[in-house]
């Protein structure tokens, strides 16, 4: 204690302790930060940028497809558009989306640690991601790539005269960024848990990220080497996958899907984690069947490695292999369904509040279920032959990845936004955006199920006139969806300056991340917490808590003296 000469006691002026945001302000303090929370924000900016680029490509395609002959672009440009849309959305948005932003930000907070186990590797992973992003943008600016995001040989190795090598280089580098993130999460969850934070007290968000990380670490290297082989074949003109010089293109497909099917779980498992948190918080109940939700994530991660050839039923694989892969693919539906049933059972007799994050979570459950069920249809040999490479497949995986992952991403972003920034967004703007996304999404992609069933192939820049009505519906939906995606961009930015101060726990949620200030201090907790109970002790808040808590909207209504009560 400093003392001041004279009789007067020294009274220090009250100063709020610095948060991770205002502890330093220089550009250098951001670009060289090792703080997981700042790295999460760096990722948030980066993937938002790539989401916009991928979205623009999709918009141009949807407008083009308004007329049967196509409105805007040539065949080749169309090929480049769907390739860029796929590559950027898969590797530069969906794969990093929830793990690198919310995972990075929340895992140390949720387990009561000061940071991830390897902060420097975490920063390195962001730089690798940006290097990969630089190369993919370079490929885009130089003229693009036309192979489709799957880079099937021999087209990618011999025929295409676009910037394939640059694109596979970008994805190769991107893979290592993903591996470092996964590795960091695995080690952090294993070794950095606070005293008393046992495995079965972990939030389900951490369980699903643990499963995701296993897939990242074990599947991504296979993609890296496969694309490296494609690049080598292309540059040195040697026969690895090209049948004309002794290669086997189907082998390339096997290796590619050995990664790219599990990659679906890199995209959806973190979303499961987010939804588990949202459903419990806004039902004010502990999750029904915690252990089942936790272990079903691991089961999905493991079975997910055994199903890849369901993408290749028409690639002349043996019928027995097809049957085995079909059966194994059905099996993934079991742990997925366990999750859906558990979320539903959590809602049952819960005190459900329909705030923005919960609207997203409920949207997720419905859309993911539809996407999952059509996935079971596609895993059926006979049906797959009928709709293979049609819009049915497009609709199916967009229900999983957009209706599932992206909506969960938005739900999570809204839920933890007050924690990240210390501010509340406008609740009604959030609800409107969530509703627009849900409606726009369904209008965009449901007609594509019909289109595919009727036989419209994917990746075509024109189509017979009888398909026009579905395409017009789909484009109309896409424009609503675009508005729904654009809205949060504005009101979330608005909230940074004008939003209500959130306080440490605006949702009255359980979980360690809500016990520290919003935004958290640089080292997360003033003192490492000691955990004495499960992550979802909502029963402690009941019954007197239940009525008093209500939803944020109800609180707002009370403040303004309006309805609801």
């Amino acid at each position: 204690m400093a003392t001041i000469p004279g009789d007067l006691p020294y009274i220090p002026a009250y100063e709020a302790p610095p948060t991770y945001l205002n502890v330093a302000h220089t550009v250098r303090s951001w670009l060289l930060t090792k703080d997981h929370k700042r790295i999460a924000l760096l990722y948030l900016f980066s993937i938002t940028f790539f989401f916009a680029i991928g979205g623009v490509a999709a918009t141009i395609m949807r407008v083009h497809l308004l007329a049967p002959a196509g409105l805007l672009v040539e065949e080749m440009t169309y090929n480049k558009l769907f390739t860029m849309h796929g590559v950027i959305m898969v590797w530069f948005f969906l794969i990093p989306s929830i793990p690198t932003t919310m995972g990075n930000f929340l895992i140390p907070l949720m387990i009561g640690a000061r940071d991830l186990a390897f902060p420097k590797l975490n920063l390195a992973s962001w730089y690798l991601f940006m290097a990969a992003g630089f190369f993919i943008l370079l490929a885009l600016l130089l003229g693009g790539v036309d192979t489709g995001w799957t880079f099937y040989t021999p087209y990618s190795s011999r025929s295409s005269n676009t910037y394939v090598t640059l694109a596979v280089l970008a994805i190769f580098i991107n893979g290592f960024s993903s591996i470092l993130t996964g590795l960091n999460f695995i080690v952090t969850i294993h070794t950095m848990r606070a005293p008393g934070m046992t495995w079965f007290r972990l939030p389900l968000f951490c369980w699903s990220h643990y499963a995701t990380s296993l897939v990242m670490v074990l599947a991504t290297p296979v993609l890296a080497i496969t694309l490296a082989l494609v690049g080598i074949e292309r540059v040195f003109k040697v026969g690895i996958f090209d049948p004309a010089i002794g290669g086997d293109p189907v082998l390339m497909q096997h290796l590619f899907w050995f990664y790219s099917h599990p990659a679906v779980y890199i995209m959806i498992l973190p979303a499961f984690g987010v939804v588990s948190e949202l459903v419990t918080c806004f039902s004010r109940k502990r999750p029904f069947g915690y252990e089942f939700i936790a272990f079903s994530s691991l089961a999905i991660a493991m079975i997910g490695f055994l199903v890849w050839a369901h993408h290749m039923f028409v690639a002349n694989i043996s019928i027995y292999a097809g049957m085995a892969f079909s059966l194994l693919s059905f099996l993934v539906a079991v742990p997925s369904a366990i999750k859906v049933f558990n979320w539903t059972a959590t809602l049952y007799k819960g005190s459900v509040a329909l705030d923005t994050p919960m609207l997203c979570a409920l949207g997720f459950i419905g859309l993911f279920t539809l996407g999952g069920l059509t996935g079971v249809m596609l895993a059926t040999l006979g049906f797959d032959v009928h709709v293979h490479d049609t819009y049915f497949v497009i609709a199916h995986f967009h229900y999983i990845m957009v209706g599932g992952s992206v909506i969960a991403y938005f739900g999570g972003l809204h839920f933890w936004w007050p924690k990240m920034t210390g501010r509340m967004y406008n609740e009604w703007a959030g609800r409107i955006a969530a509703a627009l996304i849900f409606l726009g999404f369904n209008l965009t992609f449901f007609p594509q199920f019909v289109l595919g069933y009727l036989g419209m192939p994917r990746r075509y820049h024109s189509y017979p006139p009888e398909f026009q009505v579905y395409n017009v519906l789909s484009t109309a939906g896409a424009s609503i969806l675009a508005v729904g995606y654009a809205l949060p961009f504005f009101y979330l930015l608005w909230s940074l300056r004008y939003g209500r101060l959130a306080g440490p726990n605006p949702w009255r949620a359980t979980g360690l991340e809500w016990q520290t200030t919003s935004p958290p201090p640089k080292d997360n907790f003033e003192k490492i917490p000691v955990v004495t109970e499960e992550a979802y002790a909502y029963y402690k808040l009941a019954p007197q808590g239940m009525a008093a808590l209500g939803s944020v909207a109800a609180a707002e209504a009370r403040e303004t003296g309006g309805g609801e009560s």
């Binding site: 070794t191 080598i232 003109k237 040697v238 690895i240 002794g246």
Partner: protein, 250 residues
């Protein structure tokens, strides 16, 4: 924080960790997780190699016959010996014996570099033989008297140690599938050599750190996990050597 006494051990624990034990556990697990990534990384190429080897057994066998098995064998010995010194180095670091640690690390570096030198010699001889895939690949093996003096000397040495009667050791005309074998040979040994170069660079950093007395019996994580990495790279070679060089009999 002000009342914390800064012990030498304490200062080496990064701020995110509670204590040295947690840090050691994390760095070990991190390296094991990384090695599991590496297994899948190499694994994919091994699978592709296996698929093609089973498809074109004769061409691949002929490819194996054209490799310098004795150089591969010497390299295997060199690498196993380097792993032995690496293990001694890790052991020395656990006991806090700094000069023994440095000595063993340097021996590991020397043997690792020797491996790379022998590998480079092999690559050179294969280039002279027209075995490098792509533009410089030659379907006809070059005549014995072609090539540099060194390459000819190696050839006469090979004839001397060959047990095959004269004339039968001749290599037949090459095939596309044999070129593919060479593609995999260069990719697999090339990735392996890249890992060796990275490993040697890491060992050099360790020597530099050890000179500055960074390690003690209480803190030797970097030595330990670099050791894990080095043994892993070594193990990869133990698989590469037989499947590339030794599958020679029909």
């Amino acid at each position: 924080m002000a009342e914390d006494v800064l012990t030498p051990e304490h200062s080496l624990v990064a701020h995110q960790f509670e204590d040295a034990g947690q840090q050691r556990e994390a760095s070990r697990l991190g390296m094991w997780a990384f090695l599991s990534t590496e297994i899948l990384f190499f694994g994919a190429v091994f699978v592709a190699y296996a698929v093609y080897r089973l498809r074109w057994p004769d061409d691949y066998r002929q490819g194996s016959l054209e490799l310098k098995w004795y150089l591969g064998a010497i390299n295997t010995a060199v690498l196993l010996l380097s792993s032995f010194f690496m293990a001694l180095g890790v052991h020395a670091s656990e006991l806090g014996q700094n000069s023994r640690l440095i000595r063993n690390l340097i021996l590991t570096i020397v043997l690792g570099s020797l491996f790379l030198a022998i590998k480079a010699t092999e690559y050179y001889l294969e280039y002279e033989d027209g075995l490098v895939p792509g533009a410089s690949f030659r379907m006809e093996p070059p005549p014995e008297e072609a090539g540099s003096g060194f390459a000819r000397a190696v050839k006469s040495f090979e004839r001397a140690i060959s047990r095959a009667p004269k004339g039968q050791g001749e290599v037949a005309r090459r095939t596309r599938a044999e070129e593919q074998f060479m593609v995999f040979y260069f990719i697999m040994t090339g990735i392996h050599a890249t890992h060796m170069v990275i490993g040697i660079a890491l060992l050099c950093v360790l020597v530099w750190m050890a000179r500055r007395r960074k390690f003690s019996a209480a803190y030797n994580n970097p030595v330990e996990i670099t050791g894990l990495y080095w043994h892993f790279v070594d193990t990869v070679w133990v698989f590469l050597f037989p499947i590339l060089y030794l599958l020679r009999n029909p």
